[in-house]
């Protein structure tokens, strides 16, 4: 009576793996990519060639020519090429299980809602949307359609970040007392959509500052309650519509604090540091696609972990959650929580005051 549950607990994972291997290879979930810009081209599509439970099955693009090139390169039939106009027909496409929205931020809400209505699970790039209200509507749309919604916070699947989360959670250096997190780079092409407020919703904060914010939240293990922010701008022509550099600081309910800087002005600011009761640890660089490096008090070359494809891992995790019918994190609520802080940061810049972070 006792033996079977014990064995199941002990060997459940490997037995399941052996069982799965004994069966024929399960069908990979079909993913449709909406938006074939640089991120889809250089990161996501290549990752979908490596994923063990997902494959690129369709694309949504404004360019029929580009669609054709992609169908040939990635081996799906031209019938799985959609335009933004006929996208809703994807409801009838049995090859597509998941829609991955990789569009400019302001378009996330519309395509997440349309994908959910088409009966597809939805994976959405960060930042989730331009406003908390948009996030709530996206969560509601997926809930109404009974479809899973995940946000592309790739770092949450990356080994250095996961180990850092463990160090914080298990108080390996004592309690985390303070976080410093920064992400910025020198923005290039002045004509890119990321510098248009109508498309991007904001500048460096929306694009890369959100990584620093994420790190603070998942290392603290609690939500910020107040923020104060200042914006500085040295190039008001290039950054006429969006923020160039934002500094912000956050107060947590426990009385702990964090400080962050994000910028489109200069390179090389790409790190986080957790200042703990008994030392510090962190990553630098922290948020790139590869080459992440750890550090801690009293040791060099800390956290020497393998470089992995962040996009492969997030796609596999989301696919696995669908296959197993389980919840997925980072969820839409996680995306909403960041937008609530971002909203407070922008309000603080406008008001020149400390602003409270609204609750979910």
């Amino acid at each position: 009576m006792q033996r079977r549950p014990f064995l199941q607990t002990l060997c459940g994972a490997s037995l399941a793996t052996a069982f799965a291997q004994a069966q024929e290879t399960p069908k990979k979930l079909g993913w449709a990519l909406v938006g074939l810009g640089s991120l889809s081209t250089n990161q996501i599509a290549p990752a979908l060639l490596k994923t063990n439970n997902a494959r690129l099955a369709a694309v949504v693009t404004g360019s029929p020519e580009k669609g054709k090139q992609w169908s040939e390169k990635y081996g799906f039939d031209a019938s799985h090429i959609y335009s933004y106009e006929n996208f809703d027909k994807i409801i009838d496409d049995a090859d597509v299980d998941v829609v991955y929205v990789v569009l400019p931020n302001s378009m996330h809400r519309e395509y997440v809602e349309r994908a959910a209505k088409a009966g597809k699970h939805v994976f959405c790039e960060k930042p989730m949307a331009n406003t908390p209200d948009d996030c709530r509507k996206m969560i509601d749309a997926c809930a109404a359609a009974k479809k899973l919604l995940g946000i592309g916070y790739r770092c949450q699947f990356e080994p250095h970040h996961r180990e850092a989360m463990r160090l914080a959670r298990e108080k390996v250096f004592g309690e985390v007392k303070h976080i410093q997190a920064n992400f910025g780079f020198q923005s290039g092409d002045p004509k890119q959509w990321r510098l248009r407020k109508a498309l991007a919703g904001g500048g460096a904060l929306m694009d890369v500052g959100v990584y620093a914010l994420q790190a603070c939240r998942y290392l603290m293990g609690e939500e910020p309650v107040e923020v104060s922010a200042i914006e500085t701008k040295t190039d008001p022509v290039k950054f006429a519509e969006v923020d160039e550099t934002i500094n912000w600081q956050m107060k947590f309910a426990s009385g702990r604090s964090a400080q962050c800087t994000t910028t489109y002005l200069f390179n090389g600011y790409n790190d986080f540091t957790a200042v703990c009761q008994r030392g510090k640890f962190g990553l630098e660089p922290a948020f790139g696609y590869t080459g992440l490096k750890g550090f801690c008090s009293g040791a060099k070359n800390y956290l020497e972990l393998p470089n992995v494809d962040h996009f492969q891992l997030e796609i596999e995790a989301f696919s696995q959650a669908i296959i197993e019918g389980k919840p997925f994190a980072p969820s839409g609520e996680e995306g909403l929580r960041d937008l609530l802080v971002i909203d407070a940061i922008y309000r603080s810049i406008q008001s020149g005051k400390v602003e409270k972070v609204a609750t979910v």
Copy 2:
């Protein structure tokens, strides 16, 4: 006609040194220490044994017993022991050229003014005073007495800091775009004067935050114009009167920014980073009495410079300025500038708003 000025320029320093060595050893300036606490005991008095142009000539103490011990240990006559009551008699003490005020912050103004009135040059520990108005009065008192006033910003004489200033000023890594500077430690004895607002004027910010502020100002080479600050407190009993942790951020007129954290809550936050156009440089630890270490993009063990006695250097520099009849930096105005920013930081915490930094 051309040759002599050329040689003077080229060899001025070494000729002057040779000339000085040929003369008999000049009399060392006599320094009086006001306040014989830990800093005087462990740092300043030992430094005065090493200084080439200064010596400990008198003390001002509330304890006659302590005064006697010091006169024996440091070899000055008991007639040079003063109490806080009879301090003004120092006007007649020809052995005393300089009074070094090492008292709790709130007493700086009174003793700087009394020392100036007694016709002595004055060196004052940081922070200069509790308020900008006190600083202005101290500057006026020394100006009226035609005596030199210097502030004990020891890092400004320290080789790592001086090299960092040069790297910033000469744009060795390109222009400095942003500064991160932090200094804090876990405060010990709950009964110390530094935790009493009436004596210290404030908490971590007044005591150690001022080092981080200094670094921002001398690396930026310009003054902050606006600040926003938040205070967090996890131990409202121990830190009932003064700040435990303050985060603040500063905007400079050029559009550049800086962020700082200071704390009495945890150890190990003791660094600055200058984020520049072409990489970063900084110190960690940055503000201790010894063991400072440099870093920069792409190199380990950057800025391997000798460890020196910061107090010896500042005392020698102030003495030399007196001997040569030259101005001294960091001056009282430098101390005032920090207090103007500190005042804006405390105002920001009170108002919850961005506050402008008042001008000198």
